[in-house]
């Protein structure tokens, strides 16, 4: 296989992902009214008595989410006068010459000028074109932490340096000051033991649900109740806390508790919790379902092909017909009913929690059913096709016995198309299973997209789409590459060997 081909395919995959993102941006930003995002927002409802602050909050939120650019008269006047000066105060008034300048300037730039209801002060806003929003999103995607990352006007004396040191739990660390994260590289007792915060993916801050959390950490950080332990903070203060020191990031306004615990401005942190993350839960469930599917589907499919029109074949076909034609909603309930009445298994995941193996059995079985049936169907088809081919007759004529023919020839050839699907099925584990997870109340990824859409959480919708679509586009490419390794006869490039 040529290197150039893989590169072209990679490039085309990237273009596909860009186009998918464009479609999603159009869907999310133009088809859903932008007022809807405040439905689930508590702050918004609290501001209903203060129209000016509400307007400011609304436009600031839209600006943060990338809908528009928003400029207040304050921002304009701050470039002219010092904050708090008497000129500043008069300039803010709606009838001041500065306001007239502001209006003229921003109207010439294509902004719409409006006035706050109570104070009458001016502000201007302009919708960003979709392409611009897409560009902004991608240009912020990879965040490289430098000592100039933090720009805090209230803290001008912030030191800007990088040095080696130790974390409060005793791990080695590369510590930054002026960086967004405090510990750029550090070691601790949690898998994978060496962590880095130097290059991180930034898909925006979740809004309006999971407020204050970054979209990625919603999916990847642990869930459940906090695991508290005795810790000594930087100030020498001791206490019981679930703090993850490695996650410390810059915080602009420190409160009294922060000052008690931390010596500097790095006071934002995440905590250790006792359950795996959403991605982790879905992935664990998906991997076991996949193992079960291959473990059952392949041998049974081969057995069906070997006894074509026999009893096994007919029973297997009945199973396949049942699974493909009956809606998954119906058969998941049927399996759950059988599992709970016959084997006493819990009917929801939360009864015993993720630490108990019994919680996993029924969801995994339900999840593997469609894969089992489709694997059975296809491996049977492939094996039957191979059994009728000339090389098998030749092998028989040469005196190979059935077992040898099956193991060394038929199964090898029949498994090639199956191998092609493995990367995609692995990738499918991450996206989670919507119905299975909903019926068994599993805290996985399945609910994320429907919930994000229902709660108008644009940040999550976009982050999830980006993750899912890039994984799926790339896994198709990976599948293509793997099958050329398994079967050297297959060439992905056009007419290779012929021209």
């Amino acid at each position: 296989m040529k290197k150039g081909y893989v590169l072209t395919r990679l490039l085309r995959s990237v273009i596909s992902i860009l186009l998918i993102m464009f479609v999603v941006f159009v869907l999310v930003f133009t088809m859903v009214p932008r007022e809807n995002i405040f439905f689930e927002d508590g702050t918004y409802t609290k501001l209903s008595g203060k129209p000016d602050e509400k307007t400011d909050y609304v436009y600031n939120t839209w600006k943060k989410l990338g809908y528009l650019d928003y400029v207040k008269i304050n921002d304009y006047c701050l470039t002219l006068y010092e904050a708090g000066s008497p000129e500043m105060q008069t300039a803010l008034n709606p009838d001041s010459p500065e306001t007239a300048d502001f209006v003229a300037l921003y109207q010439s730039k294509g902004y719409t000028v409006d006035y706050y209801k109570v104070s009458g002060r001016a502000f201007a806003y302009k919708d960003l074109p979709i392409i611009q929003r897409l560009w902004n999103w991608f240009s912020n995607l990879v965040r490289i932490d430098t000592i100039y990352s933090v720009q805090d006007s209230n803290n001008p004396d912030l030191e800007r340096k990088v040095y080696f040191g130790r974390t409060p739990t005793g791990g080695l660390a590369l510590i930054g000051s002026g960086t967004y994260h405090k510990y750029l590289v550090y070691t601790d007792s949690h898998f994978p033991f060496i962590h880095q915060n130097f290059i991180t993916l930034n898909m925006g801050e979740s809004y309006p649900t999971y407020q204050g959390l970054e979209a990625l950490s919603v999916m990847f950080s642990s869930q459940g109740t906090e695991v508290k332990r005795d810790v000594t903070f930087e100030t020498g203060e001791t206490g019981s806390s679930a703090i993850n020191f490695g996650s410390l990031t810059y915080k602009e306004k420190l409160d009294r508790l922060d000052k008690k615990k931390f010596v500097d401005h790095y006071a934002n942190y995440t905590t250790f919790k006792d359950q795996s993350s959403m991605v982790g839960t879905s992935f664990t469930m998906g991997i076991f379902a996949l193992l079960l599917a291959y473990g059952i589907g392949l041998p049974v499919g081969v057995a069906m092909a070997r006894n074509k029109d026999g009893l096994i074949d007919k029973l297997g076909m009945l199973f396949i017909i049942f699974i493909t034609s009956v809606p998954s909603l119906a058969y998941i309930y049927i399996f759950r009913y059988l599992g709970t009445t016959l084997f006493g298994l819990p009917n929801v995941f939360t009864t015993f929690g993720p630490s108990d193996i019994r919680s996993w059995i029924l969801p995994i079985i339900s999840l593997s059913m469609p894969s089992i049936s489709s694997l059975m169907l296809w491996i049977r088809r492939y094996v039957v096709d191979q059994m009728n081919s000339d090389y098998v007759k030749f092998a028989k004529a040469k005196g190979l016995n059935r077992k040898e023919i099956f193991r060394w020839h038929i199964f090898k050839n029949a498994s090639i198309p199956i191998v092609h699907g493995i990367p995609s099925s692995l990738a499918g584990c991450i996206t989670g299973a919507i119905i299975t997870e909903a019926i068994y109340s599993v805290g996985g990824m399945g609910k994320m997209l429907p919930n994000a859409i229902n709660q108008y959480n644009n940040v999550m919708i976009i982050a999830l789409t980006f993750m899912f679509s890039s994984i799926s586009v790339l896994s198709v490419l990976l599948g293509d590459i793997i099958i050329t390794k398994v079967d050297p006869r297959i060439s992905l490039t056009d007419k290779a060997g012929r021209s």
Partner: protein, 309 residues
Amino acid sequence: MMEIQEENLFEFAEFDEKESEHIAAPRYSYWKSVWRTFIRSKVTVALTIFLIVLISFALIQPLYSGYDPLIAPNINKAENQYLPPSSEHIFGTDNIGNEVWDVVWAGARNSIIVSFVSTAIIMVLGILVGALWGFSKKMDKWMIEVYNVVANVPYLLLAMILSYVLGAGLGPLIFVMTCIDWIYVAYFIRTQVMIIRDREYNLASKCLGTRTFTMIQKNILPYLVSVIVTYISREIPALISYEVFLSYMGLGLGTNYASLGRTISQYKSFMTGYPHLFWIPVLVLAAIAISLYVVGQKLADATDPRTHR
């Protein structure tokens, strides 16, 4: 007496070019053979009759039952609620005193209409685009990218946003179900067309100057009938399943339409207390979907010329 004249006894046989080209072969009519193969199996015939009865019953019964999901006439009559199946109430009654019999058939009717209409749209659009796509290499380059994009936009996002924008109802639901699926059919047909496009008989046909459209219509599509019927037999149950899924997510038909999916998700809480409420819609759904699938598979087998004797 009439004189027998030689001219009257004999006449010149004309040389018929058409007749001379005729090859003596038993008459073969494709569709007649399909029919003969199809009715050969008694089980298939019985299942087909069962399916026709089931579907026509689902289509006709709700017209006379007077069931309307917005009206619950027995909601305040406790003696009419949670009744088990009996001769008077065939499938029993539910938590608000509705006849489950009426609820199930009204839901089945909408499921069947939605899945049949959607399948028709998806197949027609998919086959037309797929046939052209498979034929034109220029188009292939572009369409494969379109496919990559359309197939990877999260369908749930599209379904949710579309149902938000278009509102709930039969038309919007059919649009939501068809707007992505056609490209899978087109892709599938494209691959099939590409396989037979370069066969010798098509090469010959091309050399003789057949137009592309005629070639697609006469040389390629007939070959695809059995493949297409197989696809349809899987698509209809799959779309019924999809409708159930969307209704379960609260995205399918609005509350003013009966829907099997919503019925099942509404009744699921009665699974332990009043199991008949949950199991009856599930079993009716399974009966419709399985018989559609099996009859479709048998029809697909019959449309494959290799099974004709």
